[in-house]
């Protein structure tokens, strides 16, 4: 049974001059305790998807099913018990904490707004959480400006954990941090995931981070999933041309100076206001044929391409 199932999830924004199809029909599932990585270039709809999963944005279409309950259009009151199971970690450690609240108050906020009274009191629970994320519980009364970026991100993680969620949407949780701090935060998330049995939807553009953290990976392009599968499948045997291009762009010290094997995509990402007909990737794809312009390839066997690499090929 899947913890979270998404079917045909769509989000269109009306903007000046037309409709932006930020997310255009996503299907995926996340099992309890599993980590799904959502990767893609900027503007491909990753963040919008994450925001919809925790219902910060109202989906235009499709369904979000959480523990066999359709939560797509639940009101705030009906959503409340589910909020405890679904939390989010944000990207910017400087905007994620209210500068006028103490760290203790920030971490206690989810408990306060839901009227939760943990055994032993709110303060004790908050200090436990701070300890859990590797912060000094004595820093309870400190303000965010006294912390470094990595420490702030830990506070944000503690806040997300306060209600003991089952699934956490992590929206690029480490991309604003220094590389050395990234490793610490990723390791912390991984440890929490193992210890608490959390499921993650991990949004990132850094393929190396995703490879390290996620069991399954979904690659997005222009509001759609082009390839989804087990981590090793995706990284070792990518089948969609876009995935191959993305993976070939990961710098590899061993092959420094060599340009062979690197796939260079030409052109820019088309605007989501007016996506190409048929396959959205066809304008930059070296394999594109006539059928790609007329027929949109369905996501079958984990890949949405008319001419995928054969399964099992390196």
């Amino acid at each position: 049974m899947s913890l979270l199932a998404v079917e045909g999830l769509t989000k269109h924004f009306t903007a000046r001059g037309g409709v932006v199809r930020a997310v255009d029909g996503l299907d995926f599932t996340v099992r309890a305790g599993q980590t799904l990585g959502l990767v893609g270039e900027s503007g491909c709809g990753k963040t919008t998807t994450g925001r919809m999963l925790v219902r910060l944005l109202e989906p235009t279409g499709g369904r979000i099913v959480f523990e066999d309950r359709d939560i797509t259009h639940l009101g705030r009151r009906a959503m409340r018990p589910l909020r405890q199971d679904l939390q989010i970690i944000f990207q910017d450690p400087y905007a994620t904490l209210n500068p006028r609240h103490t760290v203790g108050r920030i971490v206690a906020m989810p408990l306060t707004v839901n009227g939760t009274r943990p055994p032993g009191g709110v303060k004790k629970r908050v200090q436990e959480l701070l300890e859990l994320v590797g912060l000094n519980p004595e820093h309870y009364n400190r303000y965010p400006h006294e912390f470094s970026g990595g420490q702030r991100q830990r506070v944000g993680i503690a806040r997300a954990l306060a209600l003991r969620p089952k699934l956490i949407v992590a929206d690029e949780p480490v991309s604003a941090l220094d590389v050395s701090i990234q490793a610490q935060v990723i390791n912390l998330l991984r440890q929490l995931q193992r210890d608490l049995g959390l499921a993650f939807v991990f949004i990132a553009h850094d393929l190396a981070v995703v490879r390290h953290f996620c069991q399954r990976v979904a690659v997005m392009y222009l509001g759609r999933i082009v390839e989804i599968g087990e981590r090793d499948e995706i990284y070792e045997r990518p089948r969609h041309p876009y995935t191959r291009a993305l993976l070939s762009a990961i710098p590899d010290v061993a092959k420094l100076g060599q340009s062979e094997g690197r796939i260079r995509l030409t052109g820019d990402v088309p605007t989501p206001m007016n996506p190409p007909s048929g396959c959205r990737f066809r304008t930059r794809c070296w394999k594109a044929q006539d059928i790609c312009a007329t027929e949109e390839p369905p996501l079958t066997a984990g890949v949405a391409c008319h001419f995928p690499e054969p399964e099992g090929a390196p």
Partner: protein
């Protein structure tokens, strides 16, 4: 920005340095207070304000100690013919520190003490009502957006386009006539209430604009989204998350609004539509003193200097407050 798995392997260590027990952080408010304490202008103007406010509050006590009331008349100290105070500088003496009023023979010092009371009360009350209305309207317009924002912004623009003085002149008398007959005495409290209402009706718009802009920039911040994702209601987001971040601009606009209302009230009273004689008031006093400008120049001097000091102190304090709350702002 990319990581190889090897780098990631070590088990996480706390990146928080061990801190002494019971450590308490300094809030942004405390930091601002420390900066304010170090600012000499702020301290001098703040003390001046504190002193003037204490004088205004303690007016009845001062009256007892001073031994003269605001309505006591000392006609025997005036010249018979021109009703000009005897002695130097408008009759300054040990009994009448700032002299006495020409014409009526009332003591200027005690009238100023009471006038200070009227001025500061009206200005503070107007500023508080203004801030309350403005913050509520601004925070709602900024956070809710949509048609609420459109309506509130439209009203704001409309109110900003109305000329204040002409509106006040046109409204004051009809409002009085609506409640009191043409020959009836209009009680002072009613005039004060109408003044505050007029100030509030015009003043809230600028605060509302300021707050709206701030809220719009804060609305999309992730800590607001975090609160929403935790199931926080509108009240929690507006008053627990947003409002603490708005205190700085609210305080600054409040402290700059008060002196504007002091002068505004004095101006209306000077024009005869605010507080009128015999109620002690700076505007009314300066209005009376104009007639004696040549014969008794000391009369205009004392209330003029005091209102100048009051307004200057408020403005300097407001500026210092802004610098203290926002140290990054360029001067």
């Amino acid at each position: 920005m990319s990581l190889s798995p090897e780098v990631l392997e070590p088990v996480p260590v706390a990146d928080a340095a061990p801190a002494p027990k019971g450590v308490v952080g300094r809030s942004p408010g405390q930091l601002a207070w420390m900066r304010l304490r170090r600012d000499r202008t702020a301290m001098i103007s703040g003390c001046t304000l504190l002193f003037l406010m204490l004088v205004a509050l303690a007016a009845p006590l001062i009256e007892v100690l001073y031994g003269v009331g605001p309505h006591d008349e000392f006609k025997h100290l005036l010249t018979r013919r021109g009703s000009i105070p005897l002695g130097y500088a408008g009759g300054v003496s040990a009994d009448h520190w700032f002299g006495i009023e020409p014409g009526t023979g009332r003591d200027i010092f005690i009238r100023m003490v009471y006038g200070l009371r009227t001025s500061i009360f009206i200005a503070l009350a107007s500023a508080i009502v203004t801030a309350g209305l403005g913050v509520t309207a601004g925070i709602l317009a900024g956070y809710l957006g949509g048609w609420v924002d459109t309506v509130i912004s439209w009203i704001t623009d409309f109110a900003l386009a109305l000329p204040f003085l002409i509106f006040a002149l046109a409204v004051m008398r009809p409002v009085e006539l609506r409640f009191y007959g043409p020959r009836e005495e209009v009680p002072t409290w009613f005039r004060v209430a109408v003044l505050i209402a007029i100030f509030a009706a015009f003043g809230w718009t600028s605060t509302a604009r300021l707050v709206r802009g701030q809220v719009i920039s804060l609305r999309e911040r992730e800590f607001i989204e975090a609160a929403r994702a935790s199931g926080a209601g509108l009240g929690h987001i507006l008053f627990r998350q947003l409002l603490p971040n708005l205190w700085a601009p609210i305080l600054v606009s409040f402290s700059l609004a008060v002196p504007a209302y002091v002068t505004g009230e004095a101006a209306l009273s000077f024009l005869g539509i605010g507080i009128v004689d015999p109620t002690p008031d700076f505007g009314a006093m300066i209005f009376r003193s104009i007639a004696y400008l040549q014969t008794d120049p000391a009369y205009v001097f004392f209330p003029g200097i005091t209102i100048f000091a009051l307004v200057l102190a408020f403005n300097l304090f407001g500026d210092a407050l802004r610098d203290a709350l926002d140290p990054k702002s360029s001067r």
